[in-house]
Symmetry: C2
Subunit: 498 residues, 2 copies
């Protein structure tokens, strides 16, 4: 039986997180169904909800409730998880003065608008003063939060608690040369995929139906979710019983909806697999963005771009899309695994993707450390891009202005994308060991064994373990690039004939 103090603490904690879930629904609605002119009212609603959640978090009542349960020193995993994580969130919030939070809110509102304009105009100088201001503010955040040696750690901790940037750096340093050399090998490989087949016309309605078929087949529960179109795909988890995804369609590039939907479904399977009885408390929440991304990338790339997956779904694909009727399974599988260095991160294949991330990680750390001046960012970006991807961006819109993150004051988020790829490979390798029939099951359209394995090993634990601890528990090793490189070589070697 939980103590009365604990129950009172949980009630308060839930209220804070329910307020955050309301804000999340407001954002979902904004990106899906809100009328064009509703933005001003929506901003007021979001500001209110952010305020409600913040007020209740930094309230003396909540601090007292938290301290009371801390004194009970209950070591039951659920209790310990909720107390530990509530303390972490409380401390982060309590350390930041209201003035600083408001300054950031104002600065990002202005920065985002000018970033959008700068990107359209391909003119970095319009965005530069905002970036300077935001870096000053984020350095102040890092100072207030506190850090051992690297201010970047204080920022990254928001998204990837328990992982230090030096750990990430070490793995990236090992990954980079191997990845660069694989990209070079693939560039000079004897075989090339026939990518123009991906540009054949596929009607939107059929894409929508096919995407839903795939999402349901891999385990997405439509009784507890829904799919809607949106400009930028995302996943919203209000609770495990209301997990919505969005996707997008290009009638001349069907992989966008197929793999976009599988990716978001991967996120959604994680959210639907969290324990509902602990909804709106850390014991019912995802671990980190890196672990979240590991789920989406595992399903998108390791399952969705797997040949066994298409053994099962290819007949449905060619039946749905008449223009693909004369394509072979081999050609399709090769085409959706095409590797080609390109400028835009969100369009990158799974081999070159991490190169985009490592570049951002390096630049962000230098910017936060004050080692790279804002005015030098475009040149630094282009030099690094040339070095790692062999291309020079034709302009800043296709270079350092391409992502929204910096304009909304988000630094330390990018590395979680790469961690997701590496964790996905570690987890998928472990799943393969545990489930030796995996490919045969995929060929038969059976995805429940893999999902069950993920549910048992990852989803059901909520935030009980930090990411490094979970990965070590489940895979037997700490964060490493090796399974990822091995996975790439196993797949791309035979495909490209290298």
């Amino acid at each position: 039986m939980p103590s009365e103090r604990y129950t009172a603490f949980i009630d308060k904690l839930r209220d804070i997180n329910v307020a955050n879930s309301v804000a999340a629904l407001l954002e979902w609605d904004q990106d899906t169904y809100m009328p064009p002119r509703g933005a001003e009212t929506r901003a007021a609603q979001l500001a209110l909800m952010t305020g409600v959640a913040h007020e209740r978090l930094v309230d003396d009542d909540f601090r007292a409730a938290l301290e009371a349960v801390e004194q009970e020193r209950d070591e039951a995993p659920i209790v310990a998880t909720n107390v530990r994580e509530a303390r972490r969130v409380f401390d982060r919030a309590a350390k930041l003065p209201t003035r600083l939070v408001q300054d950031i809110a104002r600065a990002t509102t202005l920065a985002r608008a000018d970033w959008a304009k700068a990107r359209v105009d391909k003119n970095f100088t319009l965005f530069a003063p905002h970036l300077k201001k935001l870096l000053d503010l984020k350095r102040e955040v890092a100072e207030k939060i506190g850090f051992k040696t690297d201010p970047y750690d204080a920022l990254m901790d928001e998204f990837e608690p328990g992982t230090r940037s030096s750990d990430v750096q070490q793995v990236f340093d090992e990954l980079r040369p191997e990845l660069t050399s694989l990209v070079a090998e693939l560039r000079d490989a004897p075989r090339r995929p026939d990518t123009p087949v991906l540009r054949r016309h596929c009607p939107r309605d059929a894409q929508d139906k096919f995407s839903r078929t795939l999402a349901a087949a891999i385990g997405y529960d439509f009784e507890r979710g829904r799919i809607d179109p949106a400009t930028h795909p995302f996943c919203l988890g209000l609770s495990p019983n209301d997990v919505r995804i969005t996707t997008r369609y290009n009638e001349h590039f069907v992989p966008m909806s197929i793999f976009g939907t599988i990716h978001e479904t991967g996120h959604a399977l994680y959210e639907q697999g969290l324990p509902f009885e602990h909804a709106h408390t850390p014991a019912g929440e995802f671990i980190s963005l890196g672990i979240h991304e590991s789920q989406s990338r595992l399903w998108e790339n390791m399952v969705g771009r797997n040949r066994a997956f298409w053994e099962h779904f290819f007949p449905q694909l060619t039946a749905r899309f008449t223009e693909l009727a004369n394509v072979s399974l081999d050609d399709w599988h090769f085409a959706v695994n095409s590797v080609q260095p390109s400028y835009i991160r969100v369009e990158a294949d799974e081999v070159t993707y991490n190169l985009h991330i490592m570049l951002r990680f390096d630049l962000e750390r230098q910017m936060i450390a004050g080692e790279l001046a804002v005015d030098d960012v475009p040149a630094a970006w282009n030099a690094a891009f040339e070095q790692s991807l062999g291309l020079t961006p034709p302009n800043d819109a296709q270079g350092c202005l391409q992502d929204v993150h910096w304009s909304i004051g988000i630094f330390g988020y990018f590395p979680t994308y790469a961690l997701g790829n590496l964790y996905a490979a570690q987890l998928f390798t472990a799943a393969r060991h545990a489930l030796p029939e995996l490919d045969d099951q995929f060929c038969r359209g059976e995805f429940a064994p893999l999902l069950d394995w993920l549910r048992i090993n990852i989803h059901r634990h909520g935030k009980r373990f930090r990411a490094p601890e979970l990965i070590e528990r489940v895979t037997g090793t700490a964060l490493t690039h090796e399974p990822f490189m091995q996975y790439l070589k196993n797949k791309y070697g035979p495909l490209y004939g290298i």
Copy 2:
């Protein structure tokens, strides 16, 4: 320039109303897009938002801010409106003990579930104990709120501030015999409409398109709104810039979507016409449910069932719906104005509708006054129904169990539907005087002159005037049934040949 005190007061007041608008969006989402299993999380979100709005309203800070602006005695209309109405809402909330509010919340949750079951089972005894409990609680509410002579006034005041039930009773007493005699005349009339044409098959997609055409034509701004399907049509106003309506479709009864959409558009035109600069304060809010309903009924019945309206839209109707191609304009116009006593309020025509309301008004007042025992409600309902509509309900599902209102603790709401009809007729008569070309304009598809008249005379004022005051200002007379009866006779006399 508003005083600093006033600005501080308005900030607090806006926050309360923005919290209410967030709750309204949560309800809209629940009725449109929420996944089936999302209900439990949604209940937690709604409870949080109701709590946030209530806490901020009864907070000592808000009371102090309100008292401070009251002392300034600023008589500028906007200021005076906001202070007066904030005081009214504050007093109503402050007078109700938290215990009573919680008791009502619990009782209605249980009552609603058993009401739904009782309706399916056609078994009033299942609902009776809940109704007794709710009546006790609502009598306590009336005592706490206070009233001069009739406890029903304290309840009705929530929905129709400034209108006493004795005033309503007087108008109903005058209306009833005239209405009953008109219904009898129509029953024995020489001409009958060909209503089976309304049952012809009209595809849902074409209904959707046609409804949107109609809504846009009468002035609904889709940049500030949207239409979605829902089981029970309603209108959601988050602010004048985000006003959404829902509608429903029956492929074998096209009037459902046509007049349902026009009705909700009428509500939406009011919401979109409120002054955005005063959004989330009383100066930017609707006056009362009666006035709101006057707008929906005016557009639905006085415009949408007007022959001139169909002079314009009939060619589009027959072009859209092939099964209506051989129907004449006269036959269509007569069919959509068919009068036929029936059991269900929401399906009633505009002549018999008020008889349904008056019956509920009488029973509710007797129940609240303790003059009618709950166990006697079905018999009293059926007797009154027989007397006013000449029909005896075959069971309680088609009788006293048909409406949700009592099960959610709502008493004093029903009369606002009839007030809406009467106000609509008063306002439409005034508009006709002011705009003698109205019918010609309708024939040409011009609805802006009428909408502008409503905007200027009603919408732009927000809550500046109470309903009785507004009606007297705009029409020159107090609430009266005469324009309504005159309107009915003018329309139905020629149609039915009486």
